[in-house]
């Protein structure tokens, strides 16, 4: 009797799991499997190793798969699930399997050299996250395709400087919503926005720096006390859109109109763009996952053909004049405001 009951429960569970999986595949373009591949493989095979699969990286992944298909290369993608050791394993497997190139979205940018070592002679392209020591790119078979994080925050700062100069203000106070503390993107985005404000002659002081962990609910919880206790500030600067949207929710819960002062984000997610259009968020910065995916595949093909990574690219070349400049393909960030948001919806 008891056994029957247990069996019934197990079956219910299994059915449920089945239902979930079914819903998953009927959803929008997602990537539930651990490995996916496209392309005929006429021109060889390549492997793309993702650090993980969030909304942004999944879009990047699909763009890379599509670019490879168009180029006639068989591209297999793997998810290292934020495990740096697993990433090295995948690279070694790819090299042993005779891949013409490997594209990697590094889990740990500090460990870039060990990834290069694992690849040996095989061309290796870093995508999205640059190595923390850019000199790694000096090796002939190594390239990088991504966006310059120094500029994303800078766009926010430029926008805010314009906005406040229009009001005749040169001294402002801000609330800063930071991403996961210590991540490269968090550090660079914070530094970028403050540098831009300084460059444009605005004296900005922090009311409080809050750690919102890139999460909407966390940002909402963290900023609510500031709003309800009536502290004065001129703008809210957020390291990403999710936290900016959390701040907007918190404002509305506290009966404060979010359109009366600028709230700025980064990422230009679907919801972020909609908030800019609705006038609740002042601006966001678009990071182009499609460009990064496509650019990385092109750079890998270039390296495999013995050319420089940025050879004939439609994207931006590096102009710093360093030894590794030709290994870099920059995909520019784009500021998005009410004026041009229609292009991003």
């Amino acid at each position: 009797m008891k056994l029957k009951k247990m069996m019934a429960m197990l079956l219910v569970g299994a059915t449920c799991a089945g239902m979930m999986a079914g819903c998953g595949s009927s959803g929008s373009s997602n990537s539930s499997g651990s490995a996916e591949s496209t392309g005929s493989g006429d021109k060889g095979t390549m492997t793309l190793i993702m650090s993980s699969r969030d909304e942004f990286l999944s879009t990047l992944e699909s763009a890379a798969l599509k670019a490879a298909e168009d180029a006639g290369v068989k591209l297999t993608s793997q998810d290292a699930q934020n495990d740096a050791a697993k990433q090295i394993q995948y690279i070694e497997t790819a090299v042993n399997g005779g891949d013409i190139a490997v594209i990697v979205n590094p889990v740990d940018s500090d460990a870039a050299q060990s990834l290069v070592d694992a690849a040996g002679e095989t061309p290796l392209v870093f995508v999205n996250r640059p190595p923390s020591d850019m000199n790694v790119l000096s090796a002939e078979n190594v390239g990088f395709c991504g966006s310059n994080e120094d500029t994303s925050g800078y766009f926010q700062g430029e926008y805010l400087a314009e906005y406040f100069k229009g009001q005749g203000k040169t001294e402002i106070s801000y609330v800063l919503l930071q991403g996961e503390l210590g991540q490269v993107s968090q550090i660079k985005r914070c530094a970028g926005v403050l540098k831009a404000l300084e460059d444009k002659g605005i004296k900005a002081t922090s009311v409080v720096d809050l750690a919102g962990k890139y999460d909407r609910a966390e940002a909402m919880n963290k900023i609510s006390p500031i709003l309800t206790s009536g502290q004065k500030f001129d703008c809210i600067i957020s390291n990403n859109d999710a936290m900016a949207l959390g701040a907007i929710e918190a404002c509305e819960a506290a009966n404060i109109d979010p359109s009366t002062f600028p709230i700025v984000g980064i990422d230009c997610t679907k919801d972020g763009a909609a908030a800019v259009q609705a006038g609740k968020m002042a601006m966001t910065v678009y990071q182009n996952p499609l460009g990064q995916g496509k650019g990385a595949v092109e750079a890998a093909l270039n390296l495999a053909a013995g050319k420089a990574a940025n050879d004939g690219t439609e994207f931006t070349k590096d102009e710093s004049g360093e030894a590794y400049s030709d290994s870099i393909v920059w995909i520019p960030f784009e500021p998005v405001t009410a004026d041009n948001v229609a292009d991003y919806l």
């Binding site: 569970g13 799991a17 969030d54 409080v208 809050l210 006390p225 500031i226 206790s229 506290a254």
Partner: protein, 328 residues
């Protein structure tokens, strides 16, 4: 031993409610430093910020009471959040994740059913296969988080206002999510103190063999415990989506189970099972709330918040263990 002396009762009262005194002291200190802390507006903010985690804590404390643990609630909340949010998206939205649109109350019911089913499976694993609850629920955590990401790779937003009202609609200036948390808390308190079920779990947590010998159906009661915890996690997920207006499969509910375990532990729930008081659990929830809220008002670094949280958890457990050791 000294039960006849009058002073003993005060001492016992003090030690039983030590965390409430800590809470009051913290609140007074904060009010002195930052008067903005003790305002109706800020206290409402504090409680509504902690409500979602509070709902989860009302479930997790039962698992701990039964000498188990549940590591799943955060991920279960994320899964039920994305599923219920996808059902509650505005009907005329062109980018709806799935075609089906349900009335708000049914969306919340679906969220709770998902949580309940996960809970039943975990409970069955714990009770009938005798694998350690830590392992069983670690499995459910990983599976539910992955299922949530499979269900939707991006945040699900543009939710019906009728659904959102379950969390954000204000009665007398207080958001609904707070009332829902209080209702859940009262139900949990009632079950623990007034129902046979509560007594059974106390017995199972204290000594499983003795409970079995005393004629308690251990398996059934354990499954019900984890089911209750799952139901609460599911409800919390729906509330999370309703409150923030969006359900994000990768960041929703991240580490909420640890905050819930921390709150229950600070509130005097014993990790070895058999000891738990709902009033203590409430003090734990509020102490974490005061720390989160107060340190923001003081403009403290987030890392400092984590250090203080960690210290309070460890110290409260040490105090608790000493207290219990003295008594036995």
């Amino acid at each position: 031993m000294e039960a006849t002396k009058k002073g003993f009762d005060i001492k016992k009262f003090m030690s039983d409610n030590a965390m409430w005194f800590v809470l009051i002291v913290l609140a007074i200190l904060l009010t002195i430093v930052r008067p903005a802390f003790f305002t109706v507006a800020n206290l409402t903010t504090l409680v509504s910020s902690e409500s979602v985690k509070g709902i989860i804590t009302c479930g997790v404390c039962w698992c701990i009471l039964s000498a188990g643990i549940d590591l799943g609630p955060g991920a279960v909340a994320a899964l039920s959040a994305v599923v219920s949010a996808s059902l509650a998206q505005q009907a005329d939205l062109p980018t709806r994740l799935i075609g089906l649109h349900l009335p708000a109350i049914l969306c919340i019911a679906v969220a709770m059913i998902i949580g309940g089913i996960v809970g039943i499976i975990c409970g069955w694993l714990v009770a009938c296969t005798h694998i350690h609850p830590f392992i069983a629920t670690l499995g459910s955590q990983l599976i539910c988080r992955a299922l949530a990401k499979m269900y939707s790779s991006s945040p699900v937003s543009n939710l019906d206002q009728s659904f959102r009202n379950f969390a954000v609609f204000k009665v007398a200036g207080i958001p609904m999510v707070v009332f829902i948390f209080l209702i859940v808390f009262i139900i949990s308190w009632f079950m623990m103190t007034q129902c046979r079920f509560g007594k059974n779990i106390f017995a199972i947590g204290g000594n499983r063999q003795a409970a079995r010998v005393a004629g308690i159906n251990v398996e059934k009661n354990l499954i019900l415990t984890y089911m209750w915890c799952g139901l609460m996690a599911g409800l919390a997920g729906a509330m999370l989506a309703a409150r923030t207006g969006s359900a994000d499969p990768s960041t929703n509910g991240l580490q909420y189970e640890f905050d819930a375990i921390a709150a229950a532990t600070i509130g005097g729930t014993s990790q070895t099972g058999g000891i738990c008081k709902m009033s203590g659990v409430m003090s734990g929830i509020l102490i974490l709330g005061i720390i989160n809220n107060g340190l923001v008002l003081l403009g403290a670094n987030d890392n400092l918040t984590q250090v203080i949280k960690g210290l309070i958890i460890v110290v409260s457990v040490v105090v608790d263990m000493r207290k219990n050791a003295v008594r036995t």
